[in-house]
Every structure is written in C-alpha cells, then in structure tokens.
Amino acid sequence: MATLWITLAVVGGIAVVAFLSRLVWSLRPQADMAGTPPAPLERLGWIGLGVTTVVGVGLIVIVILVGTDFIDENTTARGTFWLLMIVGFGLWGASWYVIKRRSGGVVVDERDRAILARSFSVESLIVLLMLVTWTIALSEAFSEDGVMPIAYLQLIFWSTFVGGAFGRSLGIVMGYRRGIAVDA
C-alpha cells in the first residue's frame, strides 16, 4: 500500500511540475505585444499574484513553525496571520483604487470583462484541487482516530480562500498573456 501511495505521489508530483512549467511558460510576454503597457486589470492581476503568494507562503511557514492549531492556541501566530491577511488583501484593494484613478478613461471594457469571466475557471480548478488534496490527506491522516481536530476546518477555509484568490489572479494574467481573439 505504501508503494502505491509513493508511486502516486511521484507521478502526481511530475504532473504538477509539468503543469506548472507549462503555466509559467505561457505567462511569457508575446513577442508582438512587447512594449504594450499592461491594462489596469492586468496590473491588478499581477499585484494579486504577489499578494496571494506572500500570504500563502506566510500561512505555510506559520503552520510549519507553530502547528495547525495556531489560530486557537497561539496569539502571536494568530496575530501574524491576521496581519498578513489584512495588510495583503487591503493593499490589493487599495491598489485597484490607485490604478483606477491613474488610468483615466475606461478602466474595464468588454475585453477585460471577458478575461475576468474566464479567470473563474482557473480559480475553480485550483479550489477543487485544494479541496481534493485536503480531503485525501485528512482522511488518510485521521482515518484510524475517526475524529479530526477542529483547527483544520479554519485551515481548510483560509488556505482555500487564498488559493482561490491566487487562481483568480493567475487566470487574469493568463488571459492577457494568452490573449482572447474571439469577442465576448
């Protein structure tokens, strides 16, 4: 049984690396679009990628250093987590306000709305993958005990929340990099 899980983990790991490599490659600037200033929504997408990456990595570091029940048991870790969330997402929201004021003219048009609509599919995929991973991991970890610490509920929620926001930002950036040739 252990061999099966190891094999699945290796195959899954290779698939994830291949997928991420293709994803990163698709984000390269297109040659004929070099020098084109980013659209306001694209700027917001890049900022969102940065914010959610920092918050996500921060959450992982907190869990590694303090443990999974940090939200209930450790005031410092809980404060750090909330600070990351509030500052990170607050900056993200404020950046949209600044971007809108500096843009002048139309900020979001039909092409931007089409890209925004399609970004939902990337967000959905990442949320689904995270929920599947959590379900399998927690089922395997606590199947013998039959009970799961309640701290994991909050961990599942916040990690999926941040992952979903990351997915939405990634979908937006991919939409601009890959382009939409067909109208909405």
Binding site: D32, V106, V108, R111
Partner: protein, 72 residues
C-alpha cells in the same frame, strides 16, 4: 496569441483623423487603450457594439473599418 479572423483599418484611419492617439480613440469608443492596441494588431475581435462605436468615431460604416478575412 491566436490571430483574429477580422482585419481592420483602425491604425490608418487614426492617422487620417488628425493623427488621433490610441488613447483618444479609446476614450471616444468607450474601451481601453490596450483593447485598441490588440485591435490594431488584429489579435482581438470586437463585439458588434464596440465595432459600431469605433466606426462611428471615424464617421464610417462597419464594413469600411472592418473586413472579415475568413477562418484562421
């Protein structure tokens, strides 16, 4: 980025209209400058309403601004 199947004369028409900038055209057509850029590179097919808005800016019909070039 895939090439759109509709060609256009937006860039030429802009220069013929007192060298209108992309931003000016975007403001008058109700879209962003980046959309005008990808339109001129024929990397985006506008909706009917946007196509009409752009044609109206140049006092042209849609057919005088856009041309269907077939499937890619």
């Amino acid at each position: 980025m895939p090439k759109a199947s509709i060609a256009n004369d937006i860039r030429r028409l802009r220069f013929e209209h007192d060298e209108m900038t992309q931003q000016e055209l975007a403001n008058r057509a109700g879209c962003t400058r980046q959309t005008i850029i990808v339109l001129e590179k024929e990397r985006y097919v506008p909706s009917l309403s946007l196509a009409f808005s752009i044609a109206r800016v140049f006092n042209k019909t849609i057919e005088e601004v856009f041309e269907y070039s077939g499937e890619e």
